[in-house]
Every structure is written in C-alpha cells, then in structure tokens.
C-alpha cells in the first residue's frame, strides 16, 4: 500500500517536470514573445526600448539558459513575474483560484447530485416519458456550446426577466460587507454556475443512467429482490453504491481539469477566475503566468487522481482489501 503510494508520488513528480519542459518548449516555439505583445499594446516603441525590455525579461538569453533558469526557479517555489502585470505569478494565481473553485465546485455539486438522481430515475423507469425527457435534455446540454447556453440564460434570466446580474462576481456600485457581500456573490454565482452545471449535468445523468442499467441487471440485485427487500433499499443501498463508481471517477477527472472547463463560462460572465487569466495570458504572451497556471493545473490533476483513489475506497470497501 505505502510502496504503491510512494511510487505514485515519484511518478507524479517526474510527470510534472516533463510537463514543465514540454510547456516551456511549446510556448517558446509559438510565434511572438511577451515584448512584442506588450509593444503592440503600448502602441509601438523604439528599438532601444524593445532591446531593453527583452533584456529585462531574460529573453535575450539562449533557450537552454532560459529553460534552466525557469526550472531552477520553479523547484525553489518561484513561478516568476508576470510580464503583463509585473507581479509575482503565485500571487496572481492565489487571487484568482478562489473564484474558480467557488464556480466549479458549485456547478459540479449541482450537476453531480441532480445528474445522479435524474440518471437513477430514468434507469428505473426507462420507458417513461420523463425518462425520455431526461435523455433529450441531457443530449441538448451535451451538444450546445457553453457560451451559447450562457448568452441564452442571460437573455432569459437577466434581460427578459431581470432577476439576475449579467456579469461579474460582485456588484460594482456598492461596498458590501459581511452577509450582504456573501448574498451578493451568491446572486452573481447563479447564472455562471447554472451554465456550467448544464454541461456537466448531461455527462452525469447519462453516465449514472448507463451504469445503473448495467448494475440493475446483475445477479445480486435479483437476489436482493428475491429476499423481499423493499425497492428503495435495492436501488439506493445495493445498486447505486456500485453504479456510482464511474461517476466518481469522472467527477475526479473533471475536477482536475476545472480550469479548462471554466474558461468559456468565466469569459462570458466576466468571472474573475483562473480560466480567464489563462486565456488572457495566451493572448498577451504572458509566458510566466501561463506556465504557472499550467503547472498549477497539472498539479491539480495529480492531486485529484490521488484523492479519487481515496474516495473509491470509501465507496467500495472491496478496493481497499485488494
């Protein structure tokens, strides 16, 4: 057990370094560098100014020196300075991670719970009208582009029926504190979380439905029914516990990739999270920030995979025994 975990950790560390090297190289190959992007935004510059800025960011060094310096810094916990904001990357990530976590965790939880319930429901009565309805909604949610869903929800819930704010995380007109601030954030959270949840919901309802159908056909369910256990007991105690494993796997995977999932939703709703920062960093050629976020998200994937293992063991005791 311990040996296995240790192996995994060593593998993860090697993987992270490989990801760093690969990312750095890829970004280096891409056309354009931070100075060109900044000069473009400045509205031009003199050649002397450009040379001076290149030197300041170490871009005048050979590639091997640049990547060496970067790896060395990362190993000491320094992700460098953002070329765009002239601020440490770790600080930028720390500022934004909260917003992304709030959005993604909310959306994921809503989708997970609602999706599982809908999936189980439609697996139990798979010929019913409601079951077909769930399938249709799931398919629609699955295939509609997320930004389109976002805009449609804005049109419906903040333009036609003005219930919810269009964009941002807090109201800009007032300085709210305490409970009022929390309520204000929740008010802003509804639309983006709903949008993101629509997409996730499709996954989970389909996944839990399929997995539930499979489990319901197995022998031990028949045994449970033959014993005369009530239907609810059979479904939720015997069947669901087994059927939920793929859902947990998927949730773990998706949580690891939370940044990529949130980019579009964050952009549409001007949500101040990591997804927007990553997207902007690409456009601005803000290499240190982009590398920092990529490094951070690969760490998330590794950590989430380890955590998923733990959850497996909680849900299914047989795994621990092995």
């Amino acid at each position: 057990m311990l040996q296995g975990t240790l192996n995994r950790l060593v593998n993860a560390a090697i993987l992270l370094v490989a990801v760093l090297v690969l990312n750095f190289t890829l970004i280096h190959i891409a056309p354009g560098d931070p100075v060109e992007a900044i000069v473009g935004e400045m509205g031009g510059a003199t050649p002397e100014m450009i040379a001076q800025m290149r030197a300041q960011y170490g871009l005048d060094q050979p590639f091997i020196v640049q990547i060496g310096t970067y790896l060395g810094n990362v190993l000491t916990g320094d992700l460098g300075m953002s070329t765009y904001y002239s601020r440490p990357v770790t600080g930028l990530i720390a500022e934004r991670i909260g917003a992304t976590l709030l959005l993604v965790v909310t959306a994921l939880l809503v989708a997970l719970i609602l999706g599982t319930v809908l999936g189980v429901f439609s697996a139990r009565k798979r010929r019913s009208v409601l079951s077909h309805l769930v399938t249709v909604i799931a398919l629609a949610g699955f295939s509609a582009p997320v930004f389109w869903v976002g805009i449609m929800l804005i049109l419906l819930l903040s333009v036609s029926i003005p219930l919810l704010p269009i964009s941002g995380m807090t109201s800009s007109s007032a300085d709210l504190t305490g409970i009022a601030h929390v309520l204000d954030v929740l008010h802003h959270l509804v639309l983006p979380a709903l949008t993101l949840a629509t997409i996730y919901l499709a996954f989970y309802s389909r996944l839990s439905r399929a997995s539930m159908l499979e489990v319901l056909g197995s022998d031990y369910i028949r045994t449970a029914r033959a014993k005369g256990l009530p239907q609810r007991m059979v479904i939720y105690k015997h069947a669901l516990r087994n059927a939920i494993l793929p859902v947990v796997t998927f949730a773990g995977l998706q949580f690891g990739q939370l940044i990529s999932g949130a980019v579009l939703v964050e952009t549409v709703f001007a949500w101040p999270g990591l997804g927007t920062l990553a997207f902007e960093s690409i456009l601005r050629r803000d290499t240190p920030t982009l590398l920092g976020i990529l490094f951070f998200s690969s760490m998330m994937v590794v950590v989430m995979n380890l955590l998923t293992d733990v959850v497996y063991r909680l849900v299914d005791p047989r795994i621990q025994a092995r």
Partner: protein
Amino acid sequence: MFAKPAIPFNRIVSAAFAATMATSALADGGTLTGYTSGYRTLNPAVQSGAATGAPGSQIFAGLVLVGKDYEIQPYLADSWTVADDALSVTFNLVDGATFHDGEPITSEDVKFSLEAVKANHPFGKAMFGKITEIDTPDPDTVVVHFSEPVPGFLYSLQPLLMPIIPEHIYGDGQELKTHPRNMENVVGSGPFRVVENNPAERLVLEKNPDFFIEGKPKLDRMVYPLVKDPLTRMLMLEKGDVDYAAFAGIRPTDWPRLERADGVEVTTDGYDAIGYVHYLELNLREKPFSDLAVRKALAHAIDTDFLAKVIFGGKTAAGTGPLHTGNPFYTADVEIYEPDLDLAAKMLDEAGYPVGADGKRFSFVLDVPSWAPQAHVPMAEYIQAQLAKIDIAVELRRAPDFGTWVKRIAAWDYDATMNGSFNYPDPIIGVHRHFDCDNIQNVIWSNTQGYCNPEMDKLLDAAAIETDPAKRMELYAQIQKLETEDLALIYMPQDFSVTVYRDDVKGLPDTPFGALAPFLDVTVGE
C-alpha cells in the same frame, strides 16, 4: 428603468419622465459606470492607447487641456509664454496643487514627468526628442528648451500623452515601464483618485476632494467593471447596466438596435484628436506591390465610399489620406482614385501583369489582425471579393492572436495586411512614423511597409519645425497629396469609433479628445 427593448409607448412615457426631471435642478454627484477590457498599467507615461488612457486621463492631470477647435486651455499650468525664437516655453504652475497623497506638485515633478515620458512612452522621442534642457528656477516655474522649434509641443501636454506623475514615488530608480506603483497604490495628480484597482474585476475611481480646480469634478465615483465578451457588453448596454462606454467596439449594425433601447444614446463625437484611421498596408519591398502602377490599380479597384456607405452604414467617412478628417491639418485636396474596375484591369495589363494561363494575374496573402475585427474582417472580405473581379487571387489569413500578427508585420514577413493607427492631434506623433525613411524598422506601427521618398522626408522635416500655422498647413497639404500619389498606404474608411451612453449622463467633454479627456463637468442622474 425598462429592461426590455423599448416599444413606442415606452418611449413616450420615458420622454414624459425626462421632461419632468429636466425641471428639477441638476445636483452634483452620482456614480458613472462604464467598463474596461483590461489594462496592464494605469500610468499613461509608459503606454499609449485607450485602455490605459481612459482611466489615466482621470487619475493624472496634464499641463494643459485641448478644448473645442483645438484651442489650448490652462490646466496644471495657468499660463505659459513661448519665446520669440520658439526655442523655449516657460510655464507657470497653478498654486496649491497636490498629488493624491498630499505632496505638492512642483516644477521638479513636471521636469521628471517630461523626462519620464520622453524615455518611456512609445511616442516619447517623437514628441519630446528635441528637448535639450528643462530649467526649474522655482517650484512654480518650468522652462523647456529645444534644439529646434516643436510647433505641436502644447498639443502633447494634455494628460493623455503627458501625465504629471510624482517624482517622490517613481523617482526611486526602479524601471518605470514595470514599476509596481503603476498598478498598486497609484498616486495621481488628476480629478479622480484610485480607490480600488483589481484587474480581475474592476477599477473604482473616486472624486479627488483636494483637486486644484474648485468645484470640480462633479461626479462622486467612476466604476469600470472588467467585461471582455462583446455580446455580454452589448446586452449590458442595452439593459442600461452601463452608463457610459467609449470605444464601445460595436458593429455598425448594432447601432439601430442600441438606439431602440430605452434611454440609450450613441455618438461618434469625441474622436477627432485620436484620429483612428484604417488602411491597407502593402509590403513595398517586393513585386508586385513595389510597382506603383499596381498600387494605383488596386486603389481604383477598391471603392472606399461603398465600404463606408454600405458596410459601415454611412456612419463613418471614407479616408482620403494619412490624416483623419477631424485633424486640424486635414485636406481633401489629394489624388483621388475613382472606382473603376475596367481601368484597374487595363493598368495591370500595361504594368506587365496580364491574366495568366491559370486565369489569375497574381495572388497574395492578406493578413487580418485579431484586433478591431468589426472593422478589419468586412474590409478584408470586400477587398478579396473586389480583387477577384480583376483576376487577383487574395487569400485571407486571420491572425489567431495579437502576438502572431505583430510578429509577422514587425518582421516584414507579409504580403499585405489590414492595419490602422491613431493620428493624435499633431501629425508628428501618429503620421510621420509611417512615412519617414529613418523609421523603416522591425517595430509595429513604424514604417513597416518600407516606404522611402527623399522628397517626402524633406517635407516631413520641414513640417516638423515650421512654426507659422499657415505654412505648416500648406506643408501638410503637400504631404497628404504626395502620399496619395505614392500610395505608401491605401486608406480605407475611418474607424467607426462610438460612445454609447445613457441619456441621464450630462456634461461629457465636448472636445476633440472627448472620451480621453478628464471628466470635469460630467454628472449622472437627476
């Protein structure tokens, strides 16, 4: 406030409301909500453009303001005298002006700011390159000396291009372009001070109670939430969540939609001094575009009036040359190329580009930048369709992002590109850079197309130091004429720059700098 698009009845009702409100006196105060697309610095001394300039002109004061009809007005300098030989200017500063941290604004700060802009602003050299010495005989007096006359000097001294920044903050020896105080704890000199600067969410400015002009500004607060998605912006404008949006970046087809919305006004006023022009840039180093006859044929093939009238719904003027129609030196007396496809085809035949066996004369790649897509994409598509009619194959290459496009153009590694730039009121800043032989550089928005005509250089050099306004006007007329004869760049319709605002926003600056001028008299609400 009505959220739905207005129906005629709504409009009548709101008109009635407006009438009753107008009778109550306008009180000071209010909060103005706009939006921002993000900025890397709030210090206009190290960056040009509207993203930094719009808030920057509120946070920092300049020596002068540019009023209606380009008249220079006192601001931080209450008076000035230009020497008879035009080789020095003496400024007298207003009494009692302070920075937002309470430190007095002195002649040393003015000197520091001039030198900072000269060294760090992209136009620093163009604007202040001829400054030889800056004297500060006393805290209220600044004397600027030049090696040669700089006729456009005063135009460059308003806050957008020459903000007065505190020496006691920025004079600590750190690199100014990446100085931490450009974003954190910003200490300005203007009518508004920064109370919240969170680049991920919003910028909040608040009235500076110690501003050196009594009773100004009138607004209490200005809030700029960060909104990047164009559709979200459009919905916010329509819904009335935004009071004021300069450089709104809307498509001309959005105009009628916004006008239908209740209480929303749209205007193209306030962009003359910025002078945003678009053009087709051809790489003049290689055939076929090194051939003047080919460029002239292209100019005959592209009907810019049609573009302006049909594609841009008549909301913008067709550009005739390097100067914006709102520029004080603009002239319409230039070489005009009447749209004529037959003539264009004939000219190409004569120039040695007949239709080949493959049915084409030649083909080229037209780069389309990632910025201002609402202007560049329709223009590029029109050019492609139009040139196909005279058997020129144009392949459009849309840049995935800004960096990619800048890299190509700055490396001169392109056939042709859609492009655009700002004039700024004095052509030395925004116009000379595109035509000066000495400015053929691997830098974006320099003379990247590689145009060099000694006669043009002579005219540019003469105009740069001519102090007699009439003579200078004449020189720029010749420059515009020569440019259109040489077709160093082929001018397209000018930018469709618009401001969208709510009808209860009053007192917007009625000057050529409009959106980028300080909001001293603006009020919101009744």
